[in-house]
Symmetry: C2
Subunit: 413 residues, 2 copies
Amino acid sequence: MEIKELRVNGQRLRQSLERMATIGATPAGGVHRLALSDEDKEARDLFIRWLKDLELDVTIDEMGNIFGRRGGRNNDLSPVMSGSHMDSQPSGGRFDGILGVMGTLEVLRTLHENQVMTERPIVIADWTNEEGSRFSPAMVGSGVWAGALERNWAYSRTDRNGNRFEDELIRIGYKGPAPCEKWPVHCYYEYHIEQGPILEREQKVIGAPKGIVCLHWYDVYLEGEANQVGPTPMEGRHDALCAAAEMILKVNELPERMGGNLVSTVGEIQSYPNSRNIIPDKVHFTVDIRSWDDDQAMSAWKLLREDFEAIASRRGCPIKMEETWKVEHSPFDEKLVQRILNIADQLSYSNLYMVSGAGHDASYMNQVCPTAMIFVPSIGGRSHVEVENTNWEDCEAGANTLLHAIIGSAQES
Amino acid sequence: MEIKELRVNGQRLRQSLERMATIGATPAGGVHRLALSDEDKEARDLFIRWLKDLELDVTIDEMGNIFGRRGGRNNDLSPVMSGSHMDSQPSGGRFDGILGVMGTLEVLRTLHENQVMTERPIVIADWTNEEGSRFSPAMVGSGVWAGALERNWAYSRTDRNGNRFEDELIRIGYKGPAPCEKWPVHCYYEYHIEQGPILEREQKVIGAPKGIVCLHWYDVYLEGEANQVGPTPMEGRHDALCAAAEMILKVNELPERMGGNLVSTVGEIQSYPNSRNIIPDKVHFTVDIRSWDDDQAMSAWKLLREDFEAIASRRGCPIKMEETWKVEHSPFDEKLVQRILNIADQLSYSNLYMVSGAGHDASYMNQVCPTAMIFVPSIGGRSHVEVENTNWEDCEAGANTLLHAIIGSAQES
């Protein structure tokens, strides 16, 4: 059989995903498999068994990242890497992360059973704690590996119950002997569900994001004047929650006002004293702005800032605004992105050049080597929830695209 | 000296208030004297010592309410009662409640030192747990006494740390032997700070509320669709917090729209999952509507309900609305209210016929006997906060008004 006729086994991929979905399965059809939990350990143990079945060379590093290496004809050449993560959100879905790991495994199984030897070695990766929901922040395993985050700082992170990251890593037996630091990689692929509704809406099967949008986080603090609601007339009130409500709507209207590809959201709010008969005198809320265009995101915030100041002044509510986190947009390797679109064409999968609105381990890998991602549709655009879903045919299509992307890169001398 | 020339000792009243303000004093000049706390016990002990100095007949009932009785010429007649409460809000003020108790004490001291004998007995009352901030609900001591609340239910209420009301009452030694149930009272006066800015704004010293406004409480529950904020375009979002923000502004605009004397407030909000990068899919908030006119309050809610339904439907956020508590407006005894205005005139204190926006022990007493209140200005309209303040001259003016109101009622045969 010619290499270009090679296809993954969609049925086997489905079985792997379904088997993994039993680990931490939730009643409503989702998965609860938090980083460094017993469920995470169970998934890792199974994964390593599967890697060994393929006679891969398995390495676990001191952050618990798992690598399986398949030799090439020339093992002096840097490998092609592909992977994602196996941890999930609390009551999350059965595809986020695990699809990219099982997809790569299916690629390796396909190469194995067809005895396809590539020029370069191929490495499958499972990154520790991508979700960041048990131990903040997210993408910690790939972040330390890429040199963007400090290992000891990561070790010291604690969950809600005060358990340390490192202690939990040791507890589940995944603090490995290999140093967690980058080594030469030829290129990195990450296959993932889209987590948005664009592919579904455009009726496309494969998405190739040109990169990851910028991410600007702000924290807003308002002060008002607490008073008994009954005896306090409306005139002269300084109600911090009303000021916040106006601002939340401004954030919601911002993208339309900017006329561009921008999303802006208030996800978090706290109001004090939060008592039904006292006028709120302290409110904190967050603003999340994302755009492919960093300058547009900055102009948007400038506009918002002016609105916020006007509202705060009109309502007599002193305001404090803080820039909490700012990540510039991260463009992927244009040649790799084009390769994915071309392969999808060759395989007759409809496809879309798009952007990724979410961060991924690929964000950190993009700092180390040429990187690209493959997206498949999320039904209803839903993710991080138990109803998260992707058609099995789409899962197979993504894996076939990944197969030929990996082969293409692994044949490069 | 003629009775009508009688005046309280403003200096002594101030000393009593200042002495009481040392019990539970906060650094910022307020008072933290929660119901059935050690501070409450200390204040009660001192109060009883002062009552005994006046040779009053002291009774403590099984709810911890304290009564001091001064005999009259005809002890077969029902007494005139006057009082308020000595517990405070957490980090509350030095006047709320305690002014009415110390004001009545000053009246009794004035009668005592001037050897004024009244026709009817006079009873001073300190009601247990008016604030309701440690043990919910508020006005529990007067509520059980008036027969509006159940004693055993009140006993079973717990604070944030799981301490039972009855256990704490026993612990501080104030579960008294007398049954907590109403007995005949000729009339009830309560002297209190206004807790609003009206008297100050109108530059009046004495307020005589015609009664207490109605109180309607609602709970609103919204559902949205949680999604990762990055990959989810603005169109098609179902953001429960944005829907809530629109509704909060509707509540804020309601009084102006109704064109009447109405206040409406959102004091409490919870948003879920309350994570900065997830679209909120559940929001709960409260609505508090108060008006002298029950029908107006009902029409206002009807209007709001329609607005809420339209907003919820436009944003695709299912809504559930619950009526949580409804108390009709409570008009005081018109003759007593007029007496207070007349006395203020005679004493040359500027005065105002008004309404009370807050609930008081007088609300329950109003169900038992003819009742009226005397208000003095709250500086800046502030209350339930450490900066709560009232001028000493105003405190004295209120006590003089109370003195002559009590004498007038106590001379009635």
